[in-house]
């Protein structure tokens, strides 16, 4: 049971990581003059889209989302709409936080919003996939005494989300340096940091769970 879950999670993580890699490589062929720095927004959206698609596909196929009590089309539709609303709200929330951190309000709004979309994709979208649009479940996973995870997926969610956000946070450090490097342009360092953090989280989550598997006691569903 344990090993199966961990193995499943590891392979899912590997697929997601590979999708990020592919999202960086494939546009080189398709888009003229593509580079991570030069056409950063293209790269950003390509990564965001691929992560989103792969996440949805993986979790749909594996059926990790919580079992729905009602199976009517109407209910599913309302869940879908609620998920979309939550995603948009989270984008706006991240945008607001980034602006509060000092991003220009008007000038590079598109760049800021793109960063918010990326962050939402790396954190909120995964929550939506795994936990569904269920605020109580989110609070359970992310509250203090929480970190009470119900399954390996919850732990993975905790680790990858916090890693992405911390990565973006660290990504802001080099901006004030006067090195005049192309990656110091807003928001390149932050989005690279977020992606790097996310990848680290993907790698760290299985290792961490494996390391702590003695202490972890998941309630079986």
């Amino acid at each position: 049971m344990w090993d199966v879950e961990i193995r499943g999670m590891t392979s899912a993580h590997a697929i997601i990581a590979a999708s990020i890699f592919m999202a960086t490589v494939i546009p080189v062929v398709l888009v003229d003059n593509f580079s991570v720095y030069g056409t950063h927004l293209v790269w950003l959206y390509s990564v965001a889209c691929s992560v989103a698609v792969v996440n949805i596909a993986v979790f749909w196929l594996l059926g990790i989302s919580p079992p729905t009590k009602k199976n009517t089309l109407n209910y599913k539709l309302s869940r879908l709409i609620r998920s979309c609303v939550y995603f948009v709200l989270s984008c706006l929330f991240f945008h607001a936080v980034v602006v509060l951190y000092g991003a220009p309000l008007i000038e590079s709004a598109l760049e800021t919003f793109s960063l918010a979309v990326l962050l939402s994709t790396l954190t909120t979208l995964r929550c939506l996939c795994i936990l569904g649009p269920n605020v109580q479940a989110w609070i359970r996973v992310f509250s203090r005494d929480g970190w009470v995870a119900m399954s390996v997926w919850d732990t993975s969610l905790q680790i990858t989300s916090s890693c992405s956000i911390v990565g973006a946070w660290f990504g802001a450090f080099p901006i004030p340096l006067d090195w005049d490097r192309p990656w110091q342009v807003w928001p390149i360092s932050c989005s690279l940091g977020a992606t790097g953090g996310f990848l680290t989280g993907l790698l760290a989550a299985p290792l961490w769970i494996r390391w702590h598997r003695k202490q972890l006691t998941y309630k079986l569903k």
């Binding site: 509060l100 951190y101 000092g102 509250s143 946070w169 004030p176 006067d178 005049d180």
Partner: protein, 960 residues
């Protein structure tokens, strides 16, 4: 010796302050240049040269001309140097090898000290006597093309100029083309006497790719072509009757092996100096450049152009330049140089008569007089020539000796004082850190084993060692070291104190480790602190901020660091609040008892200052929850708005901000409305803590502030339609000062009463007194801040009130956490006000508020108070808050004071160590030194705050 933590912190800060003062005295040895121009000699010998072209190639290293590279890349120059009529020297530059001080050295002949650059930041023009000014006064027409540092140093000195900025280091062709494009037309014209060219391209190449890059060769070839062009043009215009022209090729500094400069390594300080003129004899045979000082160029050029030597010049005439002149003239020139050096020596050194050089000069002068007598008698024998050469040699010796004595006492670090000061600071830091478990423990008492340490053997040995080192240092070094110039008993007692501190430090460390090694659970309380995310953030933030000071960009943009940390802090607090309230909803049953417990106990005690919003504002618990949730978010929004109020720093300082928009004359109405609104908000937020009398005084004071600003002309009176003449507003400002003093007096009176009365009612009285002192300070700050900064003050008070009401009280943060938060907020508000780590942002006009003319002491105090308004207000708020809360443990105030001392000592001590290590860094003057002054002032402010803390803290006593 057992001390209360607050007393201990105060002592530590005071010792640290002394250490910093000593360090600063060593770091900035005061070398005040003498004002005015040099000793005006009545008649100067005729000029040796007609026109001068000074070609300064930035970062031209000596071996680019005289080394193997020179043969390859500068063939023309090399040929002229080896065979033509020229003189070549290796000119040694002094550290710091940075362009601006080097230009100063080249033109004034002096060695600028660090402090005079810091002191002259507000007036970048060179005020000292210098060659350019002398040339201008003598009616010479000067044309300048090149680095615009010159234009800033010598405004209105050039008849024609075109400055290029060295801002884009990556550009190394355009900067030089901008200079060269003027050259052809200028060389053809005859309407100039001095032409100065400053080429930056080579320096930029060095910064990009170093001295061995492939770009160096073409650049040197380009420079060689320009030299050839100038030389050809100058020689073509030569005529028989006029004196010839002179071409000077020089450089401000060299280039290290990595291509940078600023330090004092050999390749950085070795620069070529080539003087080319038809007046010089043609040379033949092997050429070996002799070594001279860079400052020698100033007196040489001055004498060669028949100008007075700049007063502060420590250089000496290059004898080779004048060796073609008749012996009488040579001696005359040397005498002029010697006279200038001796008068400089007399003015700057009290013991000048004991200097060898001065004595030698007197002897030479006498011999010169005798020679002149013989010469005028018409004696033309061989003897006269020999005698003259002897006098010449005497003069040269005297000049060398005097120049050496002068340059020794200028422009270098007083390392011994610096090291003693730094040792003291680092010891205090170690002491503070070692005492942490004790100081933050329940008793808040620190045991400093100073007395037993003084009786131990290591102390005696260390003391002896220190004293003997001191004697050795002070007797061997002939330099004037400040620490040596102190009276000997004082210096010895300071050294003994250092030794005693070291011994007690070792004793404390030993005790700490012994306890830590002990498996008994007695000390485990200090070891098994569980760290929450907030603690981790607070610790890493403090450490990270300290470490970030190592990078010059992070010093320039320090405000970004603080804003970033503050935002993160607010988000972390928000998360804590969320957890508290959402957890409550989930596990309502068990939590209810605890949460309902608090308001009831608050109501039970009438004396207790109540902070529960439920009772004070009459809101229900549900509303309180939402208010608590919005508080951190509101703080974030406030911070974001304040951040766009004043753009500071370096990189983004030019961006438009709200402050500029408001200060624009067209938006006076907005500014007035904003000021009124802020003043109202300040009144509402402050009056809650005040007694009735103080409230009225406060209201009148705030009205007075508005009328002061209206009188000064920055805001509008609504009913005033005719434009009144703008006054200095002295009367209005003094009106406010009266109320400030009144409120402060009431507060202090309450405080004193609380000391006298018994412990029962004293607490309440004390807290009211403290809040009144706080209100007085707020009123003073409101008076001093510019009107567009009033929102900063209002937001500061708003954030304080909200945080106290809904967050700090509710979430049970301990004193240390609250102190760190206060410190962070204080730092962020320091920058919100528009301050930066550059001296130029200090608002000096504050010193004139309410004063008719400049009076030094109040002006300095007011300026310092206003500049540090943010940190001071937050520190005072911390004190008021901690002492007015009875829930807290008795040691809360001590804990707060101790934490403040640690928070201030850690960055200050590490920064001092850092500047010692980086003292030859490229940006030491522009970035690190101003920050050092800011740090020192901040320690002073923190020590004052700790003094007040200690005076107020009477909760408990530490007994043995």
């Amino acid at each position: 010796m057992r001390l209360k933590a607050s007393v201990f912190a105060l002592f530590c800060l005071i010792i640290e302050l002394l250490g910093i003062a000593l360090y600063l005295r060593g770091f900035f040895p005061p070398a005040e240049p003498l004002a005015g121009s040099g000793p005006n000699s009545t008649q100067l010998p005729p000029p040796l040269f007609k026109r001068v072209v000074i070609m300064l190639i930035d970062a031209l290293r000596e071996d680019f001309v005289f080394g193997p590279n020179g043969k390859r890349f500068m063939p023309f120059t090399r040929q002229i140097v080896e065979e033509g009529s020229s003189h070549g020297f290796i000119a040694k530059a002094r550290a710091p090898t940075v362009t601006m001080p080097r230009i100063k050295a080249l033109t004034t002949g002096s060695i600028p000290g660090f402090i005079d650059v810091v002191m002259n930041l507000n007036s970048p023009a060179l005020l000292e006597d210098n060659l350019i000014r002398q040339a201008k006064d003598a009616g010479k027409r000067i044309v300048f093309y090149g680095d615009d540092t010159w234009v800033r140093l010598f405004p209105r000195h050039f008849t024609e100029h075109d400055g290029t900025t060295s801002f884009f280091v990556s550009d190394y062709t355009e900067v030089d083309n901008n200079v060269t494009r003027h050259l052809d037309s200028t060389l053809k014209r005859a309407d100039w006497d001095v032409l100065i060219l400053h080429y930056l391209g080579l320096d930029h190449i060095g910064h990009i790719s170093g001295p061995h890059s492939a770009l160096i060769g073409p650049k040197l070839l380009e420079m060689d072509d320009i030299i050839k062009k100038i030389h050809t043009s100058l020689t073509a215009r030569e005529s028989e009757d006029a004196p010839p022209d002179l071409l000077v090729l020089c450089s401000d500094h060299g280039m290290s092996e990595t291509g940078s400069h600023g330090g004092s390594s050999e390749p950085e300080v070795s620069t070529p100096l080539v003087l080319i003129s038809l007046a010089f004899p043609r040379k033949g045979g092997a050429f070996q450049p002799s070594t001279v000082e860079q400052v020698d160029l100033a007196p040489t050029l001055a004498l060669a152009l028949a100008l007075p030597i700049p007063r502060n010049s420590v250089g000496r005439l290059l004898p080779a330049v004048v060796e073609q002149a008749p012996l009488r003239e040579q001696l005359r020139l040397l005498h002029l140089n010697g006279h200038q050096l001796s008068s400089l020596l007399r003015d700057s050194n009290p013991t000048y008569q004991r200097q060898d050089g001065y004595e030698l000069f007197r002897v030479a002068e006498k011999a010169h007089g005798n020679w002149m007598k013989l010469y005028l008698e018409g004696n033309t024998s061989e003897v006269l020539g020999n005698l003259g050469r002897k006098v010449l040699k005497q003069y040269l010796e005297a000049l060398q000796s005097m120049s050496l004595a002068l340059s020794k006492q200028l422009g270098r670090y007083d390392m011994y004082s610096m090291i003693v000061g730094m040792g003291l600071i680092l010891e205090v830091l170690a002491l503070l850190l070692l005492a942490m478990p004790e100081a933050l423990g329940g008793a808040a008492c620190v045991d400093v084993p100073l007395a037993p340490a003084c009786l131990s053997l290591p102390f005696c040995l260390l003391g002896l060692l220190a004293c003997s080192t001191h004697v050795l240092m002070c007797t061997s070094a002939e330099a004037n070291c400040y620490f040596c110039s102190l009276p000997w008993p004082l210096a010895f007692s300071a050294l003994l104190f250092v030794a005693a501190l070291l011994c007690s430090l070792a004793a404390m460390a030993g005790k700490r480790f012994r306890l830590a090694g002990d498996p008994r659970p007695k000390v485990s309380s200090s070891l098994d602190w569980t760290l929450s995310e907030l603690d981790i953030l607070l610790l890493t933030g403090t450490v990270g901020q300290t470490l970030s000071l190592g990078a010059s960009s992070f010093i320039e943009e320090e405000h970004q660091t603080w804003y970033f940390l503050l935002n993160t802090l607010c988000l972390a607090v928000f998360q804590d609040v969320c957890r508290k309230y959402f957890k409550e909803r989930r596990v309502l049953g068990e939590e209810r008892e605890e949460s309902s417990l608090l308001p009831s106990t608050t109501d039970g005690d009438p004396l207790r200052p109540s902070f529960s919003p439920a009772t004070e504002l009459g809101v229900s618990l549900g509303a309180e929850k939402w208010l608590a949730l919005t508080t951190p978010l509101l703080t974030l929004v406030c911070c974001r708005l304040l951040r766009s109020l004043n753009q500071t720093g370096v990189q983004w300082a030019h961006l438009p901000d709200l402050g500029h928009w408001l200060n624009n004359g067209e938006h006076k109405v907005f500014l007035s409305v904003l000021a009124v609104f802020s003043l109202l908000l300040i009144f509402l937020l402050v009056q809650r803590h005040c007694s009735l009398v103080s409230t009225i005084a406060l209201a009148l004071g705030l009205l007075g502030i508005y009328s002061y600003r209206a009188a000064v002309g920055s805001v509008l009176f609504p009913w005033q339609h005719t434009s009144r003449s703008i006054s200095k507003g002295t009367g209005e400002a003094r009106f406010v000062y009266v109320f400030v003093l009144g409120i402060l007096f009431t507060g202090v009176k309450d405080l004193l009463c609380s000391q006298v009365t018994a412990a029962g009612g004293g607490g309440h009285l004390r807290s009211r007194g403290l809040w009144e002192v706080y209100s007085g300070m707020v009123l003073l700050v409101a008076l001093l801040l510019r009107p567009h900064n009033l929102p900063t003050l209002a937001c500061c008070l708003l954030v304080q009130t909200l945080m106290v009401q809904f967050v700090w009280e509710r979430l049970r943060y301990d004193a240390a956490q609250i102190t760190i938060m206060h410190y962070w907020f204080g730092q962020a508000f320091f920058y919100f006000q528009g301050n930066s780590n550059n001296i130029a942002t200090v608002d000096i006009s504050v010193g004139f508020v309410g004063l008719e003319s400049y009076v030094e002491v109040p002006a300095v105090i007011l300026t310092a108070f206003c500049t540090y308004a943010g940190p001071v207000l937050w520190a005072c708020h911390l004190m008021c808050y901690l002492s007015s809360e009875r829930d807290r443990a008795a040691g809360a105030l001590s804990h707060g004071c101790y934490c403040l001392a640690v928070l201030r000592s850690v960055p200050a001590a590490l920064y001092v160590a850092l500047t010692t290590a980086l003292r030859y860094h490229l940006f030491i003057w522009s970035v690190f030194s101003p920050k050092l002054l800011y740090e020192a002032t901040h320690v002073l402010i923190a020590a004052a705050a700790c003094l007040i803390f200690t005076a107020v803290d009477h909760d408990h006593a530490c007994s043995l």
